[in-house]
Amino acid sequence: MSRFNDSNVTLAKEIIGRFPRPKSAVIPLLHLAQEQDGYVTRDAMSHIAELVNVTTAEVYGTATFYEMFKFEPIGKYCVNVCTNIACQLVGGWELLEHAEEKLGIKAGSTTEDGLFTIEDVECIAACTEAPAIQVNYRYRYKVTAENLDQLIDDLRAGRLADEIPPHGTLARVRQRTTDTWANTGIEAQAKVDAR
């Protein structure tokens, strides 16, 4: 399945061009693959390997270190509940339990309809807004059980589709490599490599 489509190949090459060495683009390209397919497929990893000129095993080795990369389909909405210290102090665990009851699944699993995954996560840098959660890495602050119910109902009904894209999409604005790109780093590194 799922190598990069044509427009993503173009994008991938542009991303690779922003680094002095192609392998540096592995993580951004894994994100691109996850954006395209919702998770990282084997074929995408092979394609990335070809594009940056390393083995598939090396791409796989890197990918499996990072918790955001998923290697099988997960929910369209990934609900991450923070249970770390600042959130624990004001009800993070109770909130996680509530989410589990509401969706009828345990943290680390996905609802049968493929809509929701719940994760029990570490601090998401919103500690003064505890208890905090993210849905596909978009924040909700000072979340109560009622807020959470409403949020899940809204997501189910498609009411938040504009604000929260499906799992895999992070920034919706991309850095552009324009004609004012200086390329100093790449040229300078080439000189060093040639030494």
């Binding site: 249970t83 770390n84 102090l89 004012t180 100093t184």
Partner: protein, 466 residues
């Protein structure tokens, strides 16, 4: 919020406040846009530096500012830049926007609410030490920060403030925006460099891999924190000594602290560095407005989950690096977590330890195995399966990760993550031993603390990244 908690500060009743030099645009609706930034004085420092100052002069101002890095270690930025070997090029700037130390919440706001201020700081730094390229590494989980920075960079490129021949001078440099994918350890600078090279984010041994000499692609590299660099526009515009004078004698400038936990108004505050005390932050109405329900502080974490905990006898210490270091902890990344008298210390201790166990990169055996053991022992105590010998065992395992449980830790591991996992144990078990013993004997918390039974499936060892 009650007003009767605000009297009697140890420094003569005065609550120091200062100008907002980092957070001035946080309240403004368009502070994150190019127009909003330029309208409020943005990019004047960059023009000033590039057109009226030599790189050495910029570096001199940063040295004069005595600004300590805001990423955790608190090393003076000007001194760090001075470690770059002369005449070795290319050299790189890596910006650490990985903010994931539990309790820490300021870099994300700086990136979301004032991305241009950071970009301006980055270009100023690149100019000062001759970086060929900058890599802005944002935490993977911060979608909005990534989006705002991408937009800001596109606008800055379009306005000739990044890229080729910046502001019409012959100085050129690119900023590559990129992000991680979920791994706390990547915040450690050498792990971040590995990640930038497309590898698993495992720290490198120092020495020999001090970034300033052997960093990204084995070239000289400076790694600086987002808040550190966001200070540079002010330092260039107002001068290093003016920055220094905003803070105390040994901790200069303004500094952002996030105060979370059991306070009435948790918040992110920019305060004069080195002067304000913990008590002022917790009690003053301009800051947190007191502990919830007027309870007493039982313990607080002064500088992120890695730090040793403080107690009520530390409330009047100023937020000053040498003072806090000397008292046996650290200000770290400006992350303060307050626990009131109803806090279950065993559970608090476990939760911080679980974090380190889960986030261990697995490279060093004492850390990978040790943190997992510590988590398991604490977890079984909390679920009513504790054994009499468990407290001794906790210390035995801790010793193997951090001999002597000294602070700062004696390192047997490649990076300080392993020893950090020992901080909550050394802090909580020593101080609240009876709470642990009560759990072991009765299977639940002592009377008077909030007891919430453990969540099923909450145990986590070092398997996430291994």
């Amino acid at each position: 919020m009650s007003d009767n908690t605000t009297a009697n500060y140890s420094l003569g009743g005065q609550v120091p406040t200062g100008p907002k030099i980092l957070t001035s645009r946080w309240e403004s609706a368009d502070g994150h846009t190019y127009d909003g930034y330029v309208r409020t004085g943005g990019y004047t420092a960059l023009r000033k530096a590039l057109t009226t100052m030599s790189p050495a002069q910029v570096h001199d101002e940063v040295k004069a500012s005595e600004m300590q890095g805001r990423g955790g270690a608190g090393f003076p930025a000007g001194t760090k830049w001075g470690f770059l070997p002369a005449d070795v090029h290319p050299r790189y700037l890596v910006i650490n926007g990985d903010e994931s130390e539990p309790g820490t919440y300021k870099d994300r706001l700086l990136m979301e609410k004032d991305p241009h201020q950071l970009i301006e700081g980055i270009i100023i730094a690149c100019y000062a030490f001759g970086a060929a390229q900058a890599f802005l590494y944002v935490r993977g989980e911060m979608a909005l920060a990534q989006e705002r920075l991408a937009q800001a960079l596109n606008d800055a490129y379009a306005n000739n403030l990044v890229g080729k021949r910046i502001c019409g001078t012959d100085f050129s440099v690119d900023i590559t925006l990129t992000w991680g994918a979920g791994a706390y350890i990547v915040g450690e600078e050498t792990a971040l460099i590995e990640s930038l090279e497309g590898e698993r984010g495992m720290p490198r041994l120092k020495p020999p891999f001090f970034p300033a000499s052997k960093g990204l692609y084995m070239q000289p590299t400076i790694v600086n924190n987002v808040e550190t660099l966001s200070n540079l526009p002010y330092i260039v515009n107002q001068g290093g000594t003016s920055f220094k004078d905003l803070g105390g004698a040994t901790s200069s400038g303004m500094r952002i602290f996030a105060v979370s936990g059991h306070v009435n108004k948790p918040g992110v505050f920019e305060v004069p560095n080195g002067i304000t005390t913990f008590r002022m932050l917790f009690e003053a109405p301009e800051y947190c407005g007191g502990v919830r329900s007027d309870r007493k502080v039982k313990a607080f974490i002064p500088g992120g989950a890695s730090a040793m905990w403080f107690f009520d006898e530390h409330l009047d210490l100023p937020l000053d690096k040498p003072t806090v270091d000397q008292a046996g902890s650290m200000l770290g990344s400006g992350a303060i977590v307050v626990m009131d008298e109803t806090t279950d210390m065993v559970k608090a201790c476990w939760r911080v330890v679980r974090f380190f166990a889960r986030e261990s990169c697995g490279k060093c055996t004492p850390c990978r195995e040790g943190t997992t053991w510590l988590e398991r022992i604490l977890h079984r105590i909390l679920t009513g399966n504790g054994r009499r010998e468990d407290l001794d065992l906790l210390f035995e395992v801790s010793e193997s990760i951090s001999p002597g449980l000294a602070w700062p830790p004696r390192q047997t591991t490649i990076c300080p993550l392993g020893p950090s996992a020992v901080s909550p144990i050394a802090s909580a078990v020593n101080r609240f031993r009876h709470e642990f013993e009560h759990y072991i004997e009765h299977g639940r918390a002592i009377a008077g603390v909030e007891y919430v039974p453990m969540h099923a499936g909450s145990s986590h060892g070092a398997h996430a990244h291994v």
